[in-house]
């Protein structure tokens, strides 16, 4: 293990004074390898520079009488191992241990783990029954070691479990917020009702009511100190960091109302009679309402990450592993999916999920991959095909070898990519970011300015008006709505796209996709299947299609040319048995020839056969018109038939291109094919323009030329061959078939092979950008109207100031509204053939 000098930060607990600071410094400085120690009591951390291990430092802290565990309950080796992993390729794994009942169990388990070959260090945390192990040992070896010691262990690295834990914590937080709301409203509502029903809210010196108000003032203080504590603590901490946030506004608003009311209660004589009004109800109500708003927000936010949760839920919990015993007998066992190792042979039965990524070794089946690719039709899988974790086996039983497990599966990578993209922001959100950064201090300045205006030019009671206007300005201003406007919509939009098999890598692509005016489609594999197939067979008189095809396939059986593959596939589909040919010869640029039953057969292009003296008496123009390549078959000097082979356009390409054109896009096809055959495909697909005979390396130049014309261009192609053109385009769409696509190659990756994915992606992008605009507009309008109204701009017309309580209700609802509006995107359906960017009325 490397022991380089570094600075580590350790959380501490129980250190309250400078004396503690000195004790900790002395304790740590006495350890060999420690160079310097800095204790920060305010953040309860100690920074230690040197090469002492983290566990040694923690041990010394505990010995000195202070808590030294990381807040995640783990002895913090994970922080060390980040470095060590880089230099020794060691891994850090966390195991959940069962059956440990006492401290001696801890020693037994630790020693069992440490004695396992490849383990550098093992520490068990008895409190949460977890063990942190670093080293190169495999997970199964670690689990076996713990099992042999008489305990249970399983890998604790399940993101779905983590998600559940996170949900449980959010739920607990939600209930805390509701309790706080109850406290605030429990005091505020009766007080407000008293005021509204005509009760006296004025303090009269020397009367019993003054004592009652004092009691109520103290009760309000209790509410502020409990239900509102987090606002005040947050405000104070932010203030010390020269920051101001939403907590600052709430703490200042409620604190000012309470303080003013207490001055009224304690020193009524110091204020004019008309200004002796108390506002305890405002403080309590605002605290209650803001807590309610936050609780609603927690609920609404849970839904924004529904897409990621659904993706995580796709993962199988267990896998059936096939193992070979010592006598080569095979046994099958269900094990937690976390324990599957690369290379394990797994069995999946009908109706079960594929547990990890793998390659089929035995069996045939249909796999439903719609959850990952958005493709509704199940895909046939047989030996040699790849399968992806989370997809559903519909038909037979498969045996497959695990090729990627845990975080390496396509599913895990998709989840990671979606999570990352959900955190990115399109440029449209930048203005809101700039405003957010200066928002709170600006509101504080406006509040003070409003108070001064009321003091200098307002009617009596001026002091009361000052307080109400300043408090209301502070409370009504909602930086959260502004800050949430963009990220909430991006989160839902990116998630929605993922549900449709569309992976959006950056928020910026979302925005650009909604502004495109030109789309360049690669032909092979994008508009077409990418695999040539037999389209037509024209027979000479007296010949049958199957006879012609059988002969052609027999001739081609020795060839590996793509055209030969098309003919062989067709004959296989028609279940034709092939004849054995002799004297096979492949003639480059001409065709193939072979002998069967003493006769010479040829299959090739027209010119070659004509040169060989074959009379071409069949018309092949119907084939070339379609973009198919005609292959002529002859027996001796007689033409038997013509087989048309073409790369067929995908079934739904035409419909998808029509959708793209309906969305106002100019659709261009780009290909290296000769103009005639490119035009034939273009005609079938219905594109606006064709760029034919373009060399692969020139595709990017063509895209650049379009951009020079002032167009915003999307390029759709496969992620590997078309990478330069994808990178050159304003938005690159990598189109794949299945989950084995290179998801890093383009801004947007379509896991399905259909061009509808492009139209869907654009529809989702437009809907998301519109949602962001709605949110930003709402947040800006809310704040730019709310703040002046709170400052009293309508007073000359209405004769009233806005109540701080109403401001509190409006503020708490504004951020909920933003989250709720973003959530509406969840119900958006891009829908094949029925959506345009301006047509999604439901988002």
């Amino acid at each position: 293990m490397p022991t380089q000098t570094r600075t580590q930060t350790l959380p501490i607990s129980g250190a309250t004074c400078q004396g503690c600071s000195r004790t900790i410094t002395t304790a740590l400085e006495s350890i060999s390898g420690v160079e310097s120690v800095v204790v920060d009591l305010s953040s309860q951390q100690v920074s230690v520079t040197g090469n002492a291990s983290r566990s040694t430092l923690q041990g010394a802290l505990v010995q000195a009488g202070y808590g030294a565990e990381d807040t995640d309950g783990l002895p913090a080796h994970d922080h060390d191992t980040a470095d060590e992993t880089n230099t020794s390729a060691a891994q850090s794994v966390q195991l959940s241990i069962s059956g440990a009942t006492c401290a001696s169990c801890v020693r037994t388990i630790e020693s069992a783990l440490r004695n396992t070959p490849g383990v550098d260090n093992a520490d068990m945390n008895f409190a949460d029954r977890t063990a942190q192990v670093t080293g190169t040992a495999s997970t199964s070896a670690l689990i076996n070691a713990v099992s042999d010691a008489g305990y249970g262990a399983e890998l604790l690295d399940n993101s779905a479990d983590q998600q559940e834990q996170q949900e449980a914590r959010e739920q607990a937080h939600y209930h805390t917020l509701l309790r706080h709301m109850g406290l605030g409203l429990g005091l505020g509502v009766p007080l407000m009702a008293w005021g509204l029903l005509g009760g006296d809210m004025m303090v009269r010196a020397g009367q019993t009511s003054q004592w009652i108000w004092l009691g109520i003032g103290l009760l309000t203080l209790a509410v502020l100190a409990t239900a509102g504590r987090h606002f005040f603590v947050g405000a104070w901490k932010a203030f010390r960091n020269h920051n101001a946030n939403m907590d600052t506004l709430i703490a200042l608003g409620t604190g000012a109302a309470w303080l003013y009311s207490m001055v009224v209660v304690l020193l009524p004589g110091a204020l004019p009679e008309a200004a002796r009004h108390v506002y305890f109800e405002a403080s309590a109500m605002i605290i209650g309402l803001i807590n309610l708003g936050q609780a609603l927000e927690v609920r609404a936010r849970g839904k924004t990450s529904a897409a990621v949760k659904r993706l995580l839920d796709l993962g199988a919990k267990t896998a059936r592993v096939v193992r070979e015993g010592p006598n080569q007998e095979k046994t099958e066992q269900d094990i937690p999916v976390e324990q599957v190792q690369t290379g394990d042979i797994l069995r999946v039965r009908p109706g079960e999920k594929i547990a990890v990524d793998g390659t089929v070794k035995e069996g045939e089946s249909r796999i439903d991959e719609s959850m990952l690719t958005g493709e509704p039709m199940p895909v046939n899988k047989s030996t040699g095909d790849t399968v992806s974790a989370g997809t559903l086996n519909e038909g037979g039983t498969l045996l497959y070898a695990a090729t990627a497990v845990g975080k390496d599966t396509a599913l895990s990578q998709i989840v990671a990519l979606v999570k990352k993209a959900q955190g990115s922001k399109p440029p449209i959100g930048r203005l809101a970011d700039q405003v957010s950064a200066i928002f709170v201090p600006t509101i504080m300045l406006i509040a003070i300015a409003a108070a001064l205006v009321w003091f200098n030019v307002g009617p009596e009671p001026r002091l009361t008006h000052m307080l109400i206007s300043a408090t209301t300005v502070l409370i009504i201003a909602c930086p959260c709505a502004l800050g949430l406007a963009t990220p909430m919509s991006v989160m839902v939009g990116v998630g929605k796209a993922a549900e449709n098999g569309i992976l959006i890598r950056q928020g910026e692509a979302l925005q650009t996709s909604s502004q495109l005016d030109t789309i360049v489609l690669d032909k092979t594999g994008t508009i077409t299947e990418g695999k040539p197939a037999v389209t037509d067979i024209i027979c000479a008189e007296g010949q049958q299609e199957d006879t012609v095809l059988k002969l052609a396939a027999s001739l081609e059986s020795g060839s590996e040319h793509p055209l030969a593959t098309a003919i062989l596939n067709e004959s296989k589909q028609r279940e034709l048995s092939l004849d054995d040919v002799t004297q096979f010869q492949a003639l480059n640029g001409k065709g193939v020839t072979a002998t069967l039953n003493g006769k010479t057969y040829r299959l090739g292009n027209r010119r070659w056969l004509e040169n060989e003296g074959v009379n071409i008496n069949l018309d092949s123009t119907s084939l070339t018109d379609k973009g198919a390549t005609p292959l002529f078959l002859s027996e001796q000097q007689t033409l038997l038939g013509i087989i048309g082979v073409a790369d067929r356009i995908k079934d739904d390409s035409k419909a998808a291109i029509t959708r793209l054109k309906e969305q106002g896009l100019k659709v261009i096809m780009i290909t290296g094919d000769i103009t005639a055959s490119a035009n034939a495909i273009a005609k079938q697909a219905g594109v606006d323009e064709v760029m034919a005979e373009v060399l692969p390396e020139d595709k990017a130049n063509k895209v650049a030329a379009l951009q020079k014309e002032g167009r915003t261009v999307a390029m759709v192609g496969d992620g590997i061959n078309d990478a330069p053109a994808l990178a050159q385009a304003d938005v690159g769409f990598a189109i794949g078939t299945g989950t084995d696509v290179a998801i890093e190659s383009a801004a947007i990756t379509l896991m399905g092979g259909s061009l509808h994915g492009v139209a869907d992606a654009m529809a989702i992008s437009s809907a998301t950008v519109r949602n962001i605009k709605q949110n930003l507009f709402g947040a800006f309008v809310y704040n730019s109207l709310g703040v002046p109204v709170a400052a009293g701009i309508l007073y000359p017309l209405t004769g009233n100031l806005l109540s701080p309580v109403i401001a509190g209700a409006a503020m708490s609802l504004s951020s909920v509204t933003v989250v709720t509006n973003a959530n509406r995107l969840r119900f958006f359906k891009p829908g094949h053939g029925n959506s345009k960017p301006d047509k999604e009325s439901n988002a």
């Binding site: 570094r6 580590q8 930060t9 947050g234 020269h242 001064l452």
Partner: protein, 119 residues
């Protein structure tokens, strides 16, 4: 009295401008290690200012103690990096090849604010 109140108001405004915009935050030297633990609690990142060396990778351990949804994500503006932080856990984030400059890191709503100074 009138003059006094106005004066107090103006001084308060000046203090707001000075404290939040003009005065500088303390920065925490982490240059030698390129590693730091940041506590996410009560609306602030502690420490809120991190200094790192340009061109190197920086490992940050975010220890989220605040369950409010505001704290759930940290976004490094302009670095195309973000992370979801789990409540009660430490989330490690590595930033590679840091470009020189001041980079803000915030929560989604920008209530949590921090600065990463790379030089």
């Amino acid at each position: 009295m009138s003059l006094f109140v106005n004066l107090v108001g103006l001084v308060l405004m000046a203090l707001v401008v000075w404290w939040f915009w003009l005065s500088h935050r303390k920065s925490t030297a982490q240059a030698a290690t390129q590693e730091a633990t940041i506590i996410v609690e009560d609306g602030v990142y502690s420490p809120a200012s991190i200094r790192a060396n340009t061109g190197q990778s920086l490992t940050l351990h975010f220890d989220r103690r605040d369950p409010s949804p505001c704290a759930e994500q940290v976004i490094f503006q302009g670095l195309d990096t973000s992370a979801f932080l789990e409540t009660g856990k430490t989330t490690t984030l590595t930033l590679d090849n840091l470009p020189a400059g001041k980079h803000r890191f915030t929560c989604q709503m920008q209530m949590y604010q921090g600065t990463l100074i790379v030089d």
